[in-house]
């Protein structure tokens, strides 16, 4: 019961992208194609899951004063693993994401959850939190990148959805389109959650 509650928390109530608004750099930078958004989300979710498990296991061994550097080291190790994995198995996507894979290290979501959750909760709860937050981040990226790919090149995951009649809006694939579509999307999410309260 508790597991599900913590899991759901990350998916909607405290969704990292739409509610807390952290981890903005990858959210804006790589969401120009749906596949990039999906891979980036899953890579971040994987790093989040492994680091939360490790940190919740060793939390009693790490002295209070050096906990942040220790967490950063654990995170950086996992990120390097993911980086090399993607370069080996998905070279095309790895080169599209380029800089933003190593930059998962400084994604505030990871250090934030490590400090706020994994360092003071049990392993099971940490797994629930990591899965919720990780998948919450993934669906947010997937939604944003699908919208941008659909409007920017008329396709999703490379499959043409809007036919030849549709003039692609190249602006959606450019930086300006990223800012504007995320702004509208967050406004829309605020609108939905406000209706739910009333």
């Amino acid at each position: 019961m508790k597991f599900l509650k913590i899991f759901k928390n990350g998916l909607w109530d405290e969704n990292p992208t739409f509610r807390i608004v952290i981890g903005m750099c990858p959210t804006l930078a790589i969401t120009n194609a749906a596949i990039n958004g999906l891979v980036m989300g899953l890579a971040t979710a994987f790093v989040l899951l492994t680091t939360e498990i490790i940190i919740s296991l060793v939390k009693k061994l790490i002295p209070e004063n050096v906990r942040i550097p220790s967490y950063v080291l654990i995170i950086a190790t996992m990120v390097t693993t993911v980086d090399y994995f993607l370069q080996a198995f998905l070279p095309g996507i790895a080169s599209a994401l380029s800089l933003f894979i190593p930059l998962i290290v400084v994604n505030c979501i990871i250090l934030g959850r490590a400090e706020a959750f994994a360092s003071r909760n049990s392993v099971t709860d940490s797994i629930a939190d990591a899965l919720g937050m990780g998948l919450g981040f993934t669906w947010a990226l997937l939604l944003l990148s699908s919208i941008r790919e659909l409007l920017g090149s008329g396709s999703i995951f490379g499959y043409t959805i809007l036919g030849a009649w549709y003039p692609p809006m190249a602006i959606m694939l450019l930086p300006a389109g990223a800012f504007i579509s995320l702004g509208i999307l967050i406004g829309f999410m605020n609108f939905i959650s406000r209706k739910g309260v009333k």
Partner: protein, 196 residues
């Protein structure tokens, strides 16, 4: 002379054409979080520029004399993040000792800079582009100037927005993102300026 022109072009292209915030999407967190007032935004920009210039220097030295020499490139991410954290801590201690006035202005922003992805991004770009030492330093400084420019412009716009009647659901982050989108459009005008 040719060298000088090259450095100058690198500077202009990093500040305007490949602006760290609006084109490369690095350092969005402080851009959205610390852009309420021009004063604080400027201090944040100053602190970031300072650390970025030093990072440009340090990352080149470490990459050339340690990572490449001993074939340790796979430790790149781990090394750079530790170096940046140590560097920020060192800068904080140094400023605290030498200039209490500056420390008062920049103090609270310095720890935040460690998790600013623009800094780590800078170090990683320097290694992947194989810049020379001078280029690395200029690149770091120019990236900081570009960051300051964008964040101060944004703060100026947001200060004026205080008096605007923004629809409830768009208040806060969404309207800031929309403004950033329009700013990014404006910065696209620079894109043909220099081909690098």
């Amino acid at each position: 002379m040719e060298q000088f022109t090259h450095i100058l072009l690198l500077f202009v292209s990093t500040v305007l054409v490949n602006n760290f915030i609006l084109v490369r999407f690095l350092g969005i967190c402080p851009f959205l979080g610390v852009s309420n007032q021009i004063g604080t935004a400027f201090s944040m920009g100053l602190a970031t520029t300072f650390v970025m210039t030093l990072t440009g220097m340090a990352s080149w030295l470490i990459n050339t004399f340690i990572l490449e020499k001993f074939g340790l490139q796979f430790l790149e991410t781990v090394t750079f993040i530790i170096v940046i954290a140590a560097l920020v801590q060192f800068v904080e201690m140094f400023i605290k000792k030498t200039s209490p006035v500056l420390y008062k202005a920049l103090g609270i922003f310095l720890p935040l800079i460690t998790t600013n992805c623009a800094i780590l991004g800078l170090a990683l770009i320097i290694t992947s582009e194989a810049y020379s030492f001078i280029e690395s330093v200029v690149f770091g400084f120019a990236a900081g100037v570009g960051f300051t420019l964008a964040i101060v412009l944004m703060a100026g716009l947001r200060e004026n927005l205080e008096f605007a009647d923004v629809p409830g659901v768009l208040k806060g982050v969404p309207i800031t993102l929309l403004i950033a989108g329009i700013m990014a459009l404006a910065f696209m005008g620079f894109s043909g300026l220099i081909a690098m």
